[in-house]
Symmetry: C2
Subunit: 224 residues, 2 copies
Amino acid sequence: MPKAKKSGISTLVIKRLPRYYRFIGELIKQGVVRSSSGELAAKMSLTASQIRQDLNCFGGFGQQGYGYNLIELRTEIGKILGIDKGYKTVLFGAGNLGKAIASHMNFGEYGCDLVGIFDSDLRKENEKVADLSVMSIDKMEDFFAQVHPQVAILCIPKASAQELADKLVSLGIKAFWNFSHYDLKMSHSDIIVENVHLGDSIMTLAYGLTNLNAHSDDESSDDA
Amino acid sequence: MPKAKKSGISTLVIKRLPRYYRFIGELIKQGVVRSSSGELAAKMSLTASQIRQDLNCFGGFGQQGYGYNLIELRTEIGKILGIDKGYKTVLFGAGNLGKAIASHMNFGEYGCDLVGIFDSDLRKENEKVADLSVMSIDKMEDFFAQVHPQVAILCIPKASAQELADKLVSLGIKAFWNFSHYDLKMSHSDIIVENVHLGDSIMTLAYGLTNLNAHSDDESSDDA
DNA sequence: TAGATTGTTAATCGATTAACAATC
DNA sequence: TAGATTGTTAATCGATTAACAATC
């Protein structure tokens, strides 16, 4: 098994990996044993070329004349992602969104393990969310010293996001899943940040609708 | 005011628009009146060229030797996105995530207006979420006939997503914000779909951590 | 063996960056 | 006018697609 070239992979490729993982998982659930890049491409609205190129960034998982064994392929992609690692994860901010993230996501399926929830509001202390008791933020340092979590989910207001993130880095956090409506900027380049802006996402719908209406040139909705 | 070439804009450009809108909004809040593509680029970790190229897809909003008036620029981007349109929006699925989306998002800021929440579970009927009463799904057709919503948010299990979406298209829905863990496929090409996969997003963190650990070649975590 | 489909190299396409003339 | 910065064209870079020899 040749050690695959794991560095210098384009982020576009990396962002497609979870989607491959998902689709292959669905096919396996349906009882499909093997598939070809062409078949997968049709199902996923990609090209066969792209799928082969993407996978070959990490290794040769297929077999000429046969295609890909799906269970094997899924296992390999899972390894690449680190789906079995169970990275210890803590969540900050037990508001509407924080609670929903905590209880709605199956962290185990995504390589993470939610081990703590913190909130700065003392009135939320000991409240139960997703089988965990919300902790006051002043318990944070003791907890980190014992548990050593590596991933932090930020569901807090943007005003406090950067300050908390910097502090968390000093306590050993290596990756941020950031819902705080603020683009985190990290000085250490090896800190991983995934900024999620749900507002940006829904705005693209508005753009699409606005643009669709503008298609017919003599629309009355042309409010210029 | 020349009618800008609104079609054939790359989706990469479109996806950056909300981010421009956000950053410019922040600067305005801080009292900044004008800025240049160079300044904006530094703040947003982009290049000045890219910002000028992106904006010039829609029109010339700047002034040579001066830069961009931020209030004007924000207004223009807002128009392009349709931030003032208030597209009528309905949400399906009043579970953890649905409730959080309904109460956490300021839809007005994103060009949408949440006007209804539906759930198939009769026990949730009349429950209050974000100032709205959850409606039973069998009230849907009457509601649509009266209100004519254009945007649907799907916070439902993947098993029922495609079927519901097809039905909603027949009732006049033009855009989907889809959290159902399933990639919607629409036959009409003018239906807008934004599939949100939070699982995919957090998996890229796991990838990053797994890859970071693999950097030093003789790490003990090499579980091959 | 013949057929299928990969892994991989080469060609194309599109997006980003650089350069610069236009102009405020 | 001189300085700054845009809008826009040209050059570069990277990603996708096509092609095909290798091989199961």
